[in-house]
């Protein structure tokens, strides 16, 4: 957007919203929003506690574990679906079902099977992230240009070399899938902990709401949002570096 010929960066809009938030908070216009400055002031308070350190540890560890699992399994399923038609015909429907299903409903099952601890959170992250990675990998493999594969065969590439060729040419789609998986995984790590509610940020949220600590509540949400958005941004950057590759392919 431009005002009098100057480009106003998109992030500036967020500042406008923060100011509105502050005003809403100061005048108690909406019950949900304490003044933004108050939220900021309680940030150190939230971060300083040992329970936060514990929550952060659980969140990061189970997130990374779940995501790593989802990436490995997701790419594996996607490759299988892309390369073997039979596997695709059997799995395709299920992958699509899980993509649009309300996965939160499955968390109680996970809780029964994996207990009320971080394994449940790991499993939830995995469940949220894996399907989109599988589907995008499949699309990438199916997308790999036939002439490229014929080239590989014509030049006598071995099975392993051809698989590498396919994987590399599917890389843009795989990365796109991982980016979406990263975002879905963050939702999974939060939903998992909220439902388990006795560990990590879930426990913190219960603590704050029992003690009516609104500003603390928001501070924790801000941290979570910042975590999610910086992850998404990080992957965006990574993806931009692979972009040239997708552009030159077509």
């Amino acid at each position: 957007m431009e005002i009098y010929g100057y480009r106003v960066p998109a992030a500036a809009a967020l500042i406008v919203w923060v100011v509105i938030w502050e005003i809403v908070g100061r005048f108690d216009l909406l019950l949900m929003f304490p003044p933004f400055t108050e939220v900021l002031a309680s940030l150190p308070d939230v971060i300083g506690t040992p329970s936060f350190a514990e929550a952060a540890r659980i969140t990061v560890v189970s997130y990374l574990a779940g995501l790593a699992l989802a990436i490995v399994v997701g790419i594996g399923i996607g490759l299988l679906m892309g390369l073997v038609k039979r596997a695709d015909q059997i799995l395709n429907m299920w992958v699509n079902i899980f993509l649009s299903a309300p996965l939160s409903a499955l968390v109680p099952v996970i809780m029964i099977l994996f207990g009320m601890g971080s394994p449940t959170v790991v499993a939830t992250v995995f469940m949220f992230a894996v399907w989109i990675i599988a589907l995008d990998t499949r699309a990438g493999v199916l997308h790999a240009s036939p002439s490229l594969l014929e080239m590989g065969r014509a030049f006598g590439a071995s099975r392993g070399q051809r698989l590498k060729l396919i994987l590399l040419s599917a890389l843009p789609e795989i990365l796109a899938g991982i980016r979406l998986g990263v975002i879905r995984g963050v939702k999974g790590v939060v939903i998992g902990q909220l439902l388990v509610s006795i560990i990590g940020v879930g426990a913190l949220f219960s603590l704050y709401s029992q003690n009516f600590l609104m500003a603390h509540f928001w501070a924790l949400i801000l941290i979570l949002f910042a975590f999610a958005l910086s992850l998404a941004e990080l992957i965006n950057r990574l993806e931009a570096r692979v972009e040239y590759y997708a552009g030159s392919r077509s």
Partner: protein
Amino acid sequence: MASTTQTNAAEGPVAGLTSRWASAAADTPAIWKILSLALIFGAWEIAGRTNFNYAFPGFLETMAALWEMIADGSMGAAYLRTAEPLVLGLVISLAIGVSSGVAMGLRRDVEWLTLPIFITMQAAPMAALIPLVTFVYGIGLASKVLAVVMLSLPVIAINSYKAVRNVPSSLVDMSRSFMGSRRQQVFGIILPAASPMMFAGIRLGVAEGFSGAVLAELLITPTGIGDLITYNRSIAKFAHMYAAIFSIVALAVITVSLLHRLEVTLFRPEKRGV
């Protein structure tokens, strides 16, 4: 005036995902779908029979429990309760999401101010706000409706925005060249051209809405289907709990695929070529 038409050079890879999802499911023949269902449900039944976990009933046991709950009316009653926040929330999301998405697509200033909010909402774990909403608005219907709105609104708004932005600039130019007024451009060209992608966004929004409704009923207070899940777990009637979960997942998937089918029949002529 020229603001919406000049920027279309930057058409990004936005349309790719939804259309790819759409095409994936359609080309598998029915026999394979049935086979696939049988295979997975069979695996579930076998896993249940191995008794590896006391709380893991097999497929048949779960279906029996499902039938029992449908027959005694408890399932129907639960869905009547669940439908309330779901439908209300979706209607609100639809109204706000489509109108703000279209406004963002048409006006640069609205886009500048509002788009970052929706992008944040879509990338961030909005579920974290549910405890806060409960904290402020209590455990009643209002909180549950808000939960549904918070999850389904962003995807609807952003897809409506992208849909408007993806309208071919030559179509808008065409309307302008025949001296169409801004009104004629918007209602005669932009909205009809954007509607297939908008509808796809609404479909994704409905899927998110189901998620929101379930989360609300699990997190805020157990009512409706959430109550069936929580209550049956607490009295260790696991087959009934699984049946309740099975039913909500199935209902969501069926609703979404019906919407998808509707989408294809409504917009099919345009999907081919042009």
